[in-house]
Symmetry: C2
Subunit: 377 residues, 2 copies
């Protein structure tokens, strides 16, 4: 992978360093990982003006397990062509050190990620290198991450297989009487059993009246006969995160209202999946799902988006939302996840991870292949 990361860095440098004596400072962990192959706790990446350097500060909390946000792939070594500088003083801010290094190497401007760097770090970096002009890199790295290469898609495919397996195994076990918390923990254990580095996000299990609620966190409620059971999980496989969500009915056969609601959400989700065509506006994908739920009177409860990009982060660009700006490209992986929640009764959500592909190649590639039939468990 080392050439891949070097090529990504060159591409970014070419785009940003037109002026010649400009350097770039990348601080957002997922962006550092994308460009360097790893993002140790507290590290930043300096591109140019002379050479590329990964600066790592030994965090004061370095003897605690690293926090989820700052991940390192232990299996991936840093590329040999990338200089790694461990800061001598543990309290030192890597962004400040990078600004000093850039100035010493003759940089006149340093583009930083103003949407990630705090005001305090930005000021400290400016003070450390008074001659250096700080500019805004904006979301240049995020934009570069939008279209995935086949190696990235392969990781997402494996992540999706793992999530499918974990969910499939759960469905074979007895569910009635078990709590949402226990089911969620069991799913996370199974994800790791099947080779995930961890869950892609906090697994959500929602039963009965909780089913379908956006952002539901597992509770001690137990699965009961007649419940809707809504499960959302994802695997993190070598940094890449997928999303899989399904809704089931507990018992011998679903009630009429459950079948009706399920078919409605299924139709909306299918419409969004079918809209995943290169050149389609992000908001058109959202609209495809939204107008179906809207027509049935469930538009109010919908969030602003019915899907989003996935990759090194579980929620990244593009936003498939009413406000999303842009058009789909080939090789953009997205999660499509409309849902309906009826307070007091429950609801339905269906989440899939797919990759936008040319129509000539058969259209969107579905990565999460667990059945979307309404199963009664």
């Amino acid at each position: 992978m080392s050439e891949v990361h070097a090529a990504r860095r060159s591409r970014l440098s070419d785009r940003c360093a037109a002026a010649g004596r400009a350097a770039v400072l990348v601080s957002r962990p997922a962006n550092v990982r994308y460009l360097a192959g790893a993002a140790p706790d507290g590290s930043v990446l300096l591109l140019g003006p002379a050479e590329d350097v990964l600066l790592c500060s030994r965090d004061p909390s370095g003897d605690l397990p690293p926090r989820p946000a700052a991940e390192t792939a232990p299996s991936e070594r840093l590329t040999e062509d990338l200089r790694v500088l461990v800061l001598p003083s543990p309290g030192e801010d890597s962004a400040v050190a990078a600004a000093g290094l850039a100035a010493a190497a003759g940089a006149e401007t340093l583009a930083v990620e103003e949407h990630h760097l705090t005001v305090a770090r930005h000021r400290a970096a400016a003070s450390a290198a008074p001659g250096l002009r700080l500019a805004d890199l904006g979301t240049a790295v995020e934009q570069q991450r939008l279209i995935k290469d086949e190696e990235e898609i392969a990781r997402l495919r494996i992540a999706s297989e793992i999530a499918d397996q974990a969910l499939g195994e759960l469905l074979e076990s007895i569910l009635v009487g078990r709590t949402e918390r226990h089911l969620a923990l069991e799913l996370e254990r199974r994800l790791v059993d099947h080779g995930a580095d961890g869950p892609a996000f906090a697994t959500s299990v929602a039963t009965g009246p909780n089913a379908g609620a956006a952002g539901h966190l597992p509770t001690d409620r137990r699965v009961e006969e007649g419940d809707f059971l809504n499960v959302r999980l994802g695997a993190n496989y070598r940094g890449y995160r997928c999303e899989l969500g399904r809704t089931f009915v507990i018992g011998t056969s679903p009630a009429g209202w459950q079948i009706e609601l399920y078919e409605l959400v299924f139709a909306a989700q299918r419409a969004a999946r079918e809209a995943l065509v290169p050149g389609t506006a992000y908001r058109e994908v959202d609209r495809a799902a939204r107008q179906i739920l809207d027509a049935a009177g469930y538009g109010e409860g919908l969030g602003s988006s019915t899907g989003h990009g996935v990759g090194l982060e579980i929620d990244e660009d593009p936003q498939l939302s009413t406000e999303g700006m842009g058009k789909l490209d080939v090789c953009v992986p997205v999660a499509v996840e409309p849902g309906v929640h009826i307070p007091g009764r429950g609801g339905v959500r269906i989440d899939d991870t797919l990759v936008v592909r040319p129509e000539a190649d058969g259209g969107p590639e579905l990565l999460t292949i667990t059945t979307k039939e309404l199963l009664a468990l």
Copy 2:
């Protein structure tokens, strides 16, 4: 708890709003939770100039499970005396809306958390309220969080009991042949079984040559006879996080070098615990442990700190480090966690959570009571 949060807000306002027409914007999630009782995803808290308002923006990813950083305690309702404003537009930044609200209510200055707010959000907030002067609140809320009330300590006590129980149960099971990953997952399941909202941090299980390594993440290595087994875990109980770490030997009896190393780290950890006296400088606590390990030739491998505060975050002030500035107060809970790692052989870490108490009351209160005898399992 609602009066508690209101009292905390008054205390902060009194401290910061001496000028009369000043308002305060709190954005760091743990700080928002401390002052409001909950910190929904993307929320900020505005104090004054008229009334206190919690501004929640429905995040574009609101239909995903919330990220670990932004926690809400579902069991705690927001206090009735606190106005909650849900922003109408989902893409709206709550910090920007708060700046507008402060200006409209007649504030002249707004103190923000420059160590948390990004450059981009800070600029957007300034643009939204051109007449408003943005100042730096600094770490005023973090400093207020330093000394805990008895309700907070009670939560830490329960969190510690949960961690003790989870570890105790694991020790009764067969360990040889199981992987670090599985043991870590089982511990996390047991934490939740016993009432934790989740793990306080990513559970670390380190075996054989991995044991004692700072920041070790569980691997697929299996427990073997003769290994050191190092376990670090903590429970999050209603927002409060503790830390418990122990090292064991697998097999019938420890080797000579294992006993020697264990006794050394135990002596260092005990020295740090005994130094937890009101009025002692943070760095003296660190030095108590450090000089023992240093004298034995293990000073090099030590990080910059041998302990830290715990509370709503697992690593908060005070830092018990070579660079820590300040002196211990009564009712400050800390984790004390020195360790030694010998590359290729393994090592020992011992972590406890304690509360600083007056000497007249019997000295530091040990919350994590799992034995520190060297057990052969």
